[in-house]
């Protein structure tokens, strides 16, 4: 079902944890769907110098979160904004069809954290960036 790369990230997720006083923070997903992701960014001189994530989610959620943090660590904010879920999936050697929605979450998490950074620092928010929200479970 999962590629070797995915399983490697599930086994050893990179950059897992939290950053105290992050410069950017985002939380996306919905616990009812079994998918919540938190993204913590440390930003210096327009560069993502540190990044951490936490996730409540399946193997695909863990692997895409982990992979996306690897892909944008050390990158400029603009570069980070250009990372798509497709690129993340490709870097993982693909995901099963029914797990493709998980890869969207990683992209959304990054964008939510960047939105947080731009708006907290009173910077102009790039077009298309919106504040993302986790939905509460309403059973």
């Amino acid at each position: 079902m999962y590629s070797e790369k995915v399983m490697d990230h599930v086994r050893n997720p990179r950059n897992v944890g939290e950053i105290k006083d992050p410069d950017g923070y985002g939380m996306v997903g919905n616990p009812c769907c079994g998918d919540v992701m938190e993204m913590f960014l440390k930003i210096e001189n327009n560069i993502i110098v540190d990044i951490k994530f936490r996730t409540f989610g399946c193997g695909a959620a863990i692997a895409t979160s982990s992979m996306v943090t690897e892909m944008i660590k050390g990158k400029t904010l603009e570069e980070a904004l250009n990372v798509t879920n497709k690129q993340v999936t490709k870097a993982l050697d693909g995901l099963p069809e029914q797990k493709m929605h998980c890869s969207v979450l990683a992209e959304q998490g990054i964008r939510a954290a960047l939105y947080d950074y731009y708006s907290k620092h009173n910077l102009p928010v790039p077009e298309g960036l919106k504040q993302s929200k986790t939905v509460k479970c309403a059973d």
Partner: protein
Amino acid sequence: MDFIYLDNNATTPLNPVVLESMLPFLKEDYGNASSVHELGRRARTALEKSRGQIADLFNAKPEEIIFTSCGTESDNYAILGTAYLPENRHKQIITSKIEHHAVLHTVEFLEKQGYPAVYLDVDENGIIKLDQLEKALEKETSLVSIMYANNEVGSLQPIEQIAKMCNEKGVKFHTDAVQAFAKHPVDMSKIPIDMLSLSAHKIYGPKGVGAMYIRKGVKLFRLMHGGHHEKNKRPGTENVAGIVGLATAARRLQNNHEEENKRLSLLRDKLQTALLNNIPDCYVNGMNAARLANTLNIRFDYVEGESILLHLDMEGICASSGSACTSDTLEPSHVLLAMCVPKERAHGSIRFSLGETNTEEQIDKVIDLMPTLIKKLRSMSPLGHKSNK
């Protein structure tokens, strides 16, 4: 790697004795059971012997057993075959919210075709509510289909009472006994079940073969058309090796079911107690139900099921998550939701289903491992602890 296989409700290892009984029919006795020559007659003899053996386990007649390709086909045949009879067109069908998809999706399909359908609720232990059934039966009904034992949480339904309620109303009763067959023997001379589905690969038999008990006199609209096989009820060249394997597996298990159920429930209870004691915020789904001896469905707050599974998998431990993780939906298990487990908790549920290959050492290893594993995953989870942003 030596696996610790705790996913026996998904499928079981083929027992070596069962394989042994199949091999002649995968080797020298390869005839088609419809052929008149010696090789055909050998196949026919084996087929009819197997049929008799399965019938005996039910205290039924051989002609009341037909062989199918799997539990799903048996379920479909029982339900569609009853509903499509001209006299049953558009009559109500009653089932439960916790059926396997082979039953649930079939009834949902019929509902879309204009058949009124009732999906009975279950209580928090996964047992259907008989008073609801009683009430639903007031409307003219062609069929009630209630599973014998639930595959996800193991809850055993009050089949004898249901059968009698249906029988009194003259309503046909089908039970999906895929998980219970040979573990909970049924005497058809005592319980008025009209149809029963079973599958070989849940009882240490081969995949791709199932059977149905169809009480004498119960009519079914054909699901498939072709040759005159299986008393004209199921066409297609019979899977002789598979059928022999099914019969061997069924006899083996039923003959030994009391002892094995006892052994399994001891192991299962040991696992259950240890996990409940050693891991905070964890709960057994269907804790107080009469349950299959081998099944433990347990939920761990703040973590997601599949990620637990994958981490268990890295240690060679095979289990399954309560959620339908291979389906296209994001919905958690319909069974757990019907038992009123909140959605986000349903997502954190794991099913350990034990089987004849499991030993106490294996269970001890799982007991050792789980607390650390859950702790690790919880530390990765945004839920359940305040993060200091």
